[in-house]
């Protein structure tokens, strides 16, 4: 894959392993990676190797094969290079790059899982699994019928359709990135939608006959998941 600055984002060659690890100033990284340096600069190879190592470690619990890891690496590396102008210097450049690459990889994996669900009714299975996982005695004794009823009423009366759909999907564990894809919007917009829904529901519950302390009481009884 060739990035926007004309460099390959293929995995690094073994020669990269011969470069000693050096801590470079952030300016050196940016200069080298944004086109100010030599085409085959060692810093590119060092970053490439670093990102690959980070992803292998960060995704070690995901049981991914080499091919899947290589694809994620390609996409992550490309995104890091495309996003250089969003680096603000709040950390060292390599740490920033590692975090960006990991977000890209996780987002890709979430989308992949969502794609699979289109064919296997994954959402229902996941929802059922979550329901089972959280079913214990404390769950069943926690919510008074009045509180449940008030919450159901508030969901129906206080939320817009998009808020209701997004909130319920969020509760069922559907990744925000997947909800955003379905809505054709950004993840930040989905977060805002669900956040506003939560604020509305909380205000409605507190204003209802159930009373001000009901939310806290429910949690004390075991509402936490």
């Amino acid at each position: 894959m060739v990035d926007s600055v004309g460099r390959s984002s293929d995995p690094p060659s073994s020669s990269a392993l011969t470069h000693p690890p050096v801590n470079h100033p952030d300016e050196d990284w940016l200069l080298a990676l944004t086109g100010g340096g030599e085409p085959d600069c060692p810093l590119f190879e060092q970053l490439s190797l670093y990102i690959r190592r980070v992803l292998i470690r960060a995704l070690s619990g995901k049981d991914l094969g080499d091919e899947a890891l290589a694809e994620l690496y390609q996409e992550a590396m490309h995104h890091v290079l495309e996003s250089l102008n969003s680096f603000r210097g709040n950390s060292s450049f390599p740490t920033w790059a590692a975090v960006v690459a990991t977000r890209v990889a996780y987002t890709r994996l979430q989308r992949r899982e969502a794609d699979r669900s289109m064919h296997s009714d994954y959402h229902r299975a996941e929802s059922d699994a979550l329901e089972r996982a959280t079913q214990d005695d404390s769950t069943h004794r926690l919510t008074s019928e009045e509180l449940s009823a008030a919450l159901r009423v508030a969901i129906d009366s206080e939320l817009t359709d998009p808020q209701r759909i997004a909130t319920l999907a969020f509760l069922r564990g559907v990744p925000i990135v997947e909800i955003a894809d379905q809505f054709g919007t950004a993840t930040g917009d989905v977060y805002d939608l669900v956040h506003d829904a939560r604020l509305r529901l909380r205000a409605a519950l507190r204003a209802s006959d159930v009373g001000e302390g009901s939310i806290e009481e429910a949690d004390k009884d075991g509402a936490g998941g």
Partner: protein
């Protein structure tokens, strides 16, 4: 729209920790590098400065998982 009892419970828990001001996932992402470096420097990040960051960890399971995996990576040693 049907909502099961367990999801109602989950929602109630979320309502209890809902704040007027919250970080979304992108805002959270922007703060991760600084938080990671400060915590690895053993200069514990001030919880005040990272209040919204920490709060987002309570709300968002996806960001929580991602952050946990990143925190387990020895970033400096891998460079």
């Amino acid at each position: 729209m049907k909502i099961g009892r367990e999801n109602l419970c989950r929602l109630l828990r979320l309502l209890q920790v809902t704040e007027l001001e919250e970080l979304d996932c992108e805002g959270f992402l922007r703060q991760i590098p600084g938080f990671l470096e400060r915590s690895k420097d053993r200069a514990a990040p001030s919880l005040g400065a990272y209040r919204l960051f920490v709060h987002h960890l309570r709300i968002c399971a996806e960001c929580r998982e991602e952050f946990r995996s990143l925190r387990s990576v020895p970033l400096r040693r891998l460079l």
